[in-house]
Assembly symmetry: C2
Homo-oligomer: 305 residues x 2
């Protein structure tokens, strides 16, 4: 068994690589930057710079992976929603799928997002029962790519699953994101501002998400699978919990930032597939993972700016 | 105004080119083979061999089209349903869209298919009211590409329509297709066999479809538009009509071929968008177009095999 992980140096990719290595699986990283862990094999490769299928096939031929976990996509904060590079990533993903099938890869796991759902206002998002909706170029391109890959891999007999991560937090998150901005402020002893925080979300530690992705990749589960906690929490309550865990509840200022227009009231996952079909269990509590995040920002987040 | 047509040497492309030329529009053909009409500008270019966006952009920069009608896709009879090249064409279409937007193209018309619909058993297929369904890799890739292009072009302000041709017939059709196989047999004085022909379909002459595509490209209509006649006809009745027009009704053998399993009973278009919003009218009757098809096969279809 030999797993190739694309986007292996990213926020989620590095956790997936660590989870594979913890299981003793041989991991090859496809990324522009080298991975942190020296136990992970790496040679530089840029999916967007590849001149299509021929160079991808020769790259895969050098590695001969049995499984691919494909995480690489455009992720620049804010910009990714309507980044024209979403088209390039969709095209690169199709080229990777073609090359994977040609080179005998037996299983391919792609990664979408909870933004593919038409979020129901009261119910949890279920992989196949909840209708889908196109909100932005990002989720449209992800969903469209999944549709093509699902049909293509079914036709050619390659195992295929599609991970849909919900709201992730943890080390190496972009400091512009909610939990990272709060944790960073708390680590610096500065006021941690957030909106009214009435929106209900499903947060999962990125370390747990990496473990879930590794388990999904090594399983035979087919189709979309939510990568989430299944636990609903108000954003304001998460902010207050983080303040308490940091020992500085006084620094958390709920309502200090304006609410964004059009925020959906509730985005929470049905995790029956993850917890029952995949039998996935988290390794640590949410509190322990939030403390880990605070410690990360205490260690790395003190630089100005 | 300067129109670039991809797949310009194909069954439908050559008719679209002729329709643009008839309107006095400057047409550039993007195709591997040169177009028939010398009035059409051409330089060889292979969308699949292009090494991505850079070469596409420099190609477009040399032409500076204001409009693109994109017809190129894998069309090899039977094989196209599950041809892995559907992924290459989806990727090439996304690269073309990126290059088009970067080079200031103002309007892009892509081409899907009536196979994108979940065919209702009694009603006509309406562009936005009829649910869609994925039947094969071909229609899945087409539909997914439309989803991405629709969002992308909306984001960047490029006009976008998506043509959905139904069942086309006419000169240069592949002889393995229904009308072509019947017309060719009749032209050769041989038995013209078909299945029980109970399925109801919507047939449009490819010459009319080319005119409709040219009108759609030059319009400002947005979103999906059926390219069809709106007239329901049983396949057996069309076969008999063709026999009568050829003067050889005796050669038509309805029921001589087995019915294909899983054939949908009815695929007919709602053509309100085409006939009312686009104000499109056919130039010739169906009978005249079927006679044209018979004449084509009388002139070109006498070669053996």
């Amino acid at each position: 068994m030999r797993v190739l992980v694309t986007g292996a140096s990213g926020f989620l990719g590095r956790q997936a690589v660590a989870a594979f290595l913890a299981k003793g699986v041989e991991v090859h990283a496809l990324s522009r930057r080298p991975p942190d862990d020296k136990a992970c094999h790496w040679q530089p490769f840029d999916l967007l710079a590849a001149d299509g299928r021929p160079s991808l096939q020769s790259y895969l031929r050098g590695i001969r992976p049995s499984h691919i976990l494909h995480l690489a996509w455009c992720v620049e904060p804010q910009r990714f929603w309507s980044d024209p590079a979403n088209l390039d990533w969709a095209a690169a993903t199709l080229a990777l799928a073609r090359a994977a099938s040609a080179e005998g890869v037996g299983r391919f796991v792609g990664t979408g997002s909870c933004f593919e759902y038409a979020w129901p206002s009261e119910r949890d998002c279920h992989e196949t029962l909840t209708p889908l909706a196109n909100h932005s170029l990002y989720d449209t391109a992800k969903d469209a790519t999944r549709r093509i890959l699902g049909q293509y891999f079914a036709d050619c007999g390659v195992g295929f699953a599609w991970a849909r991560p919900f709201f992730l937090f943890g080390p190496f998150e972009s400091p512009t994101r909610l939990v990272a901005s709060l944790a960073r402020a708390l680590a610096r002893g500065e006021p941690a501002a957030c909106s009214s925080g009435l929106a209900v979300r499903d947060f999962l530690a990125v370390g747990e998400a990496g473990r879930a992705l590794a388990a999904l990749t090594l399983s035979t589960l087919e189709g979309p699978v939510n990568i989430a906690s299944g636990e609903a929490i108000r954003v304001a309550d998460l902010a207050r919990l983080l303040g308490r865990l940091a020992g500085r509840p006084d620094l958390v200022h709920v309502g200090a930032l304006p609410d964004r227009a059009g925020e959906p009231p509730r985005i929470v996952a049905d995790v029956a597939r993850l917890s029952q079909e995949l039998a996935f269990q988290t390794a640590q509590s949410r509190e322990a993972r939030l403390l880990e995040t605070l410690e990360y920002w205490q260690a790395y987040g003190r630089d100005p700016g």
